[in-house]
């Protein structure tokens, strides 16, 4: 019951989705399963949020190291949740002016929009932009031109990096017309449209085969790791 039923559910759902791609009569089953899937994915966010709440409350009550930051996380979480669920600051729309709750939750000018625009977006963008430094520093420490293949990797990275800058295009002006292909931007275009394309295609085909075989293992009950190890 605890382990067999989930395997049957996974197999049935998966095969319904596969069959719905081949038999038009079952197309509706597939779309219904996807709608249910989306609902469960939304519920998974609730589960994730609840876990975040529980973990941070635990940290605060235990007065563990950094509990103050856990309190900040909690306040940010609860404030955002409140203003989002209650649509604080949302104005009625032109289409339904008498329905206060009908306007979009992220309407421009609302509190949630403000949080998204002035906190979430800058924090996320800056965090990702910082990765430029860390990727570069990690590369500096890890990449060593110790064999021809590594030199190929470094050289390609250098050409693409230069080709995507202003300097890459500027080089064209100093080269004679018949040697323009030696400019960084021209070489970058060639690398991206030939070598990178071929390499990514081989990788993509490999990934697709890997996903297909892993999916089959799950659907046939060979891979049961998602059930966990314990009985409960």
């Amino acid at each position: 019951m605890k382990r067999t039923v989930p395997i049957v559910i996974a197999a049935a759902t998966g095969f319904v989705l596969i069959v719905s791609s081949f038999i038009p009569l079952t197309e509706e089953w597939g779309s219904a399963a996807m709608q249910w899937f989306n609902i469960l994915a939304a519920i998974a966010f609730v589960l994730g949020g609840s876990n975040l709440l529980r973990m941070n409350l635990q940290k605060i009550s235990d007065r563990r190291l950094g509990w103050g930051y856990a309190a900040v996380t909690l306040v940010a979480f609860l404030v955002t949740l409140f203003v989002g669920l209650f649509k604080v600051g949302v104005q009625p729309t032109e289409s339904f002016p008498t329905y206060a709750w009908a306007a979009p939750y992220n309407q421009e000018g609302s509190f949630l929009w403000w949080l998204f625009e002035y906190m979430y977006k800058p924090l996320q963008a800056t965090m990702f932009s910082l990765l430029a430094f860390f990727i570069a520093s990690a590369a500096f420490r890890a990449f060593r031109a110790k064999n021809p293949e590594a030199i190929a990797l470094l050289a390609t990275a250098f050409i693409v990096l230069m080709g995507r800058t202003y300097v890459g295009g500027l080089m064209r002006e100093f080269l004679p017309e018949r040697l323009e292909w030696l400019s960084f931007d021209a070489m970058t275009n060639y690398i991206m449209s030939v070598f990178n394309l071929a390499g990514m295609r081989a990788i993509t085909i490999g990934i697709a085969l890997g996903v297909a075989s892993t999916s089959l293992k799950v659907l046939l009950g060979v891979d049961r790791s998602y059930l966990g190890a314990g009985d409960d």
Binding site: K2, A76, Y118, P122, L153, T165
Partner: protein, 300 residues
């Protein structure tokens, strides 16, 4: 106080004072809006607030928006707080990180609630109530779709995971989730990534130009792509030992993959640099008003 801390604190205080002085004199970081009444239905005015360039601030219907102005300053603080990690882990970075975790988790939950649970689940189960409240655009006479009791039940089972006992109940909706993902991915990956990529690789090795002359560069390009894909696939084929001819081909695959990884690395770094440039533009343009690439403050 340590000497280094003293220097940093002094620099921060001086920088802060300089910023405040500049804000008071130049007015940087301010956002101006125009209130536009887009409709008036049944005595209810629908007003939209549109951001306008600071150069229009003296116009009659334009006013300073305090929420958006505070937003710009907080946004700048968030940006600087995260950037401070370059100097090492510090309390300001940790504070910003904590805020980011809280806001992003809640934002995703809110989006999931309004976009999926209300629009999909509640709409199907209680269409009348939804039409009278959140979704007035729903067509009249929409009947309850009882099949949606199944995802409702599974949602409850999934949330059971939070209960101290009977966590195994959550395995059933999880199995549905896993099964749906596996079924969907199996077909979509085989269709979009496997067959489509093979289809795109089947190309002429001898290319003729529009005037029917032999296109040598086009031919070389296609030969390189086709042979590159084959070499890459040989490298990934582990059922045969990589010795002899297969080993030689696999080695060619390694070369191709190295070039691909190098190109991907360069591309990724440049993507991050573009994000960084965007953040710096925000700081120098929207916040400090030191540059004006979009001519928003011309004539001020």
């Amino acid at each position: 106080m340590r000497r280094e801390t003293l220097i940093w604190t002094t620099l921060m205080v001086l920088g802060g004072l300089a910023l405040l002085g500049r804000a008071a004199t130049v007015g940087n970081g301010r956002v101006y809006i125009r209130a536009v009444t887009v409709a008036e239905v049944e005595g209810v005015q629908v007003v939209q607030y549109q951001g306008v360039p600071p150069s229009q601030r003296s116009e009659a219907d334009v006013s300073l928006s305090w929420p958006r102005t505070i937003g710009i300053w907080i946004s700048a603080l968030c940006t600087l707080g995260i950037m401070s990690f370059v100097l090492g882990d510090n309390p300001l970075y940790k504070l910003m990180e904590s805020i980011f975790v809280g806001v992003s988790a809640a934002y995703l939950m809110v989006a999931a609630f309004w976009d999926e649970i209300v629009q999909n689940l509640f709409r199907s189960l209680i269409p009348g109530l939804m039409r009278d409240s959140f979704l007035p655009g729903l067509e009249a006479g929409l009947q309850t779709d009882y099949s949606y009791l199944a995802p409702l039940l599974m949602s409850g089972m999934m949330l059971w995971r939070l209960a101290p006992k009977g966590a195994w109940i959550a395995r059933w909706p999880l199995a549905f989730f896993i099964g749906a993902t596996a079924g969907f991915r199996l077909v979509s990956y085989l269709e979009a990534d496997f067959t489509q990529q093979i289809n795109n690789t089947i190309m002429p090795l001898i290319v003729y130009a529009a005037d029917e002359s032999f296109d040598i560069w086009g031919s070389i390009r296609n030969v390189l792509i086709v042979s590159g894909v084959l070499l890459g696939l040989v490298y990934f084929f582990f059922s045969v030992p990589h010795r002899g001819v297969v080993g030689g081909l696999a080695r060619g695959g390694v070369w191709l993959l190295m070039i691909t990884f190098g190109a991907s690395f360069g591309y990724t770094v440049m993507g991050r640099i573009a994000l960084l440039a965007d953040r710096l533009q925000f700081l120098f343009d929207d916040w400090l008003w030191l540059i004006d690439p979009t001519m928003q403050r011309i004539g001020m």
